[in-house]
């Protein structure tokens, strides 16, 4: 059964709790669905501006149940970038947190739990019939911060298969109470919600950060049993002397969204072993719905630095090129994943939403990896030009395009490592560099401490004018 279809056995279970003291059961969602669904047309495109709240989760689930296709976006994203996305895809509906009025003064066509849905006046009647492939269920961004129109197309089968696989390898039950330490429009945050709703558990919703007392008060008061974190989350937990905190309800910590440093992996694995908890390192991408690999808790210390093995129902292999498989242990190749959660493909425009499955269950991840003699995988690098800034995927070519659009004639080359992006510009003016850092940070919502502009006399290029990133200074 699809994870979002309400299982009658869960009717009285608590489903969602928020930090303002609101609580709803699975039955409350059924009542909300019955009341609201007739106001929205099936097979429509809906932009859902998300926050971690009951209304946001309810409208997301309503869409999946009713056959609307939602694109999940950050409610706080840059307004101009949001408008560009609306223009590119002309969604039929836009759903916003209730306190924000529709900019065009329209009346809401559906409301509930502090969320409101508006018709997009720009969406024409004729666009509304068809236009969405029958298998398409959900859209997520590849790089939310740059406002890139490149979206990942996910099917019902993808979402359900991945939620079931996650619930299986984490051995989830209705007694679980994960707390949302990540935003729901982020594939990892969403997978936590999906996999727990599948088993009838209660999800604790908060928009608070780890550095707020209210987060930990809610954590303890509601009895959180697990949380998920990107590598930066674990840096913050270290900073908070997490190992000394009193968290009696905590059972499980999961990590994804980039490679954790072996030092932090070791420390958290040791802490978990000592306190009888589980620490589970995982691996995934939006292109595979969410999850592809996990390191079983029992192996956390023994296989420190590894992202583990394929999830139930999936399979990894390493490829030298399109055709040749790497079979020798400890040899690096491109990581390829096969499984029912491999998504349908990308979309760049509304027309692409008509497309069916383009991948046939096989994903070339773009990550380079090796496998040890026991069959455990280790990520060693990336093939593609992107990096992760504090867990958010950033396409460096898109950053260059954003800057060239804003600063006409600017010669720019973007490079770096996770959490440290370096942007070389042919410009001697250091005041400009500081100002451009601020502009880019504000535009993308990426924190400024991960962005550094550097002056260079000339961007190294080949004869065809292509930037030679390898010839840029390594670090300075």
């Amino acid at each position: 059964m699809e994870f979002y279809k309400i299982n009658p056995a869960y009717a009285d279970n608590l489903m969602l709790l928020d930090d303002a003291g609101n609580r709803v059961t699975y039955d409350d969602f059924s009542a909300f669905y019955t009341e609201t669904e007739s106001h929205l047309r099936t097979r429509s495109l809906l932009f859902l501006f998300c926050e971690n709240s009951i209304g946001s989760v309810f409208f997301y689930l309503l869409c999946l149940n009713k056959g609307l296709v939602p694109l999940l976006l950050d409610a706080n994203m840059d307004q101009i970038l949001a408008r560009q996305l609306v223009e590119t895809y002309t969604p039929d509906y836009i759903a916003l947190p209730g306190r924000r009025a529709a900019p065009w003064g329209a009346l809401a066509c559906a409301e509930g739990f502090s969320y409101a849905v508006y018709e997009n006046p720009a969406a024409k009647r004729e666009d509304r019939a068809g236009g969405l492939h029958e298998d398409l269920a959900l859209l997520l961004t590849t790089s939310g911060s740059t406002g890139s129109p490149k979206l990942v197309r996910q099917s019902q089968k993808n979402i359900t298969a991945n939620a079931a696989s996650i619930a299986d390898y984490l051995a989830l039950s209705a007694a679980e109470r994960p707390i949302t330490s990540l935003p729901m429009q982020y594939t990892y945050g969403l997978s936590i919600i999906n996999s727990h709703l599948l088993v009838g558990a209660a999800v604790l919703l908060t928009n608070r950060t780890l550095f707020e007392k209210e987060f930990w008060d809610f954590f303890n008061a509601a009895g959180a049993t697990s949380f998920g974190g990107v590598p930066y989350t674990y840096e913050m937990l270290k900073r908070l002397s997490f190992f000394r905190m009193e968290l009696p309800s905590l059972l499980t910590m999961t990590q994804a969204g980039g490679k954790l440093s072996p030092r932090l992996h070791q420390e958290f694995a040791e802490y978990a072993a000592k306190t009888g908890r589980r620490f589970i390192v995982m691996y995934g991408q939006t292109e595979a719905t969410a999850r592809m690999g996990y390191l079983p808790a029992a192996d956390a210390l023994r296989k420190c630095g590894s992202m583990g093995i394929a999830i139930p129902g999936g399979r990894f292999r390493l490829m030298e090129d399109e055709k040749t498989e790497v079979l020798v242990p400890e040899t690096v190749g491109e990581l390829v994943y096969e499984g029912p959660n491999v998504t349908m493909g990308y979309a760049q425009c509304r027309e692409d939403l008509k497309k069916g499955d383009e991948r046939g269950g096989v994903l070339f991840t773009g990550d380079m990896a090796k496998r040890d003699a026991d069959g455990y995988y280790y990520i060693t690098g990336r093939k593609k030009r992107f990096l992760k800034l504090f867990g958010k995927r950033v396409n460096m070519d898109e950053i260059e395009q954003l800057l060239k659009a804003e600063y006409e004639g600017l010669d720019v080359a973007c490079t770096g490592e996770d959490d440290h992006m370096r942007i070389f510009v042919v410009c001697r003016d250091t005041a400009f560099c500081r100002q451009a850092e601020e502009w880019l940070s504000a535009k993308t919502g990426l924190h400024i401490s991960g962005i550094r502009f550097l002056s260079i006399d000339e961007i190294p290029k080949n004869e065809a004018g292509k930037t030679l990133y390898k010839n840029l200074p390594a670090d300075s």
Binding site: R244, S441, H447, G450
Partner: protein, 79 residues
């Protein structure tokens, strides 16, 4: 440099604000003072004043003004 000057300098450079804007600064009140900014801020203050800010105080450090009180607990008087 007085403690206040050091304190202000860290806030100015980290959050790109002027002295006049500092008293109104609150955690999550501006984009740069998010959890990543907070982490960096704690690190800078610890280094500048040679202290180690513990869990409760990291959580208690909710604004520019409140931060002065927090540092006071470590014998760092900001005035």
């Amino acid at each position: 440099m007085s403690n206040l000057e050091t304190y202000n300098k860290i806030f100015r450079s980290m959050f790109r604000k002027t002295d006049e804007e500092l008293p109104a600064l609150k955690y999550r009140g501006i984009a740069l003072w998010d959890s990543i900014g907070h982490m960096d801020l704690m690190g800078e203050l610890e280094e500048a004043f040679d202290i180690r800010i513990d869990t409760q105080d990291v959580l208690d450090f909710t604004s520019y003004e409140k931060g002065k009180e927090v540092l006071g607990r470590y014998g760092v008087v900001i005035e």
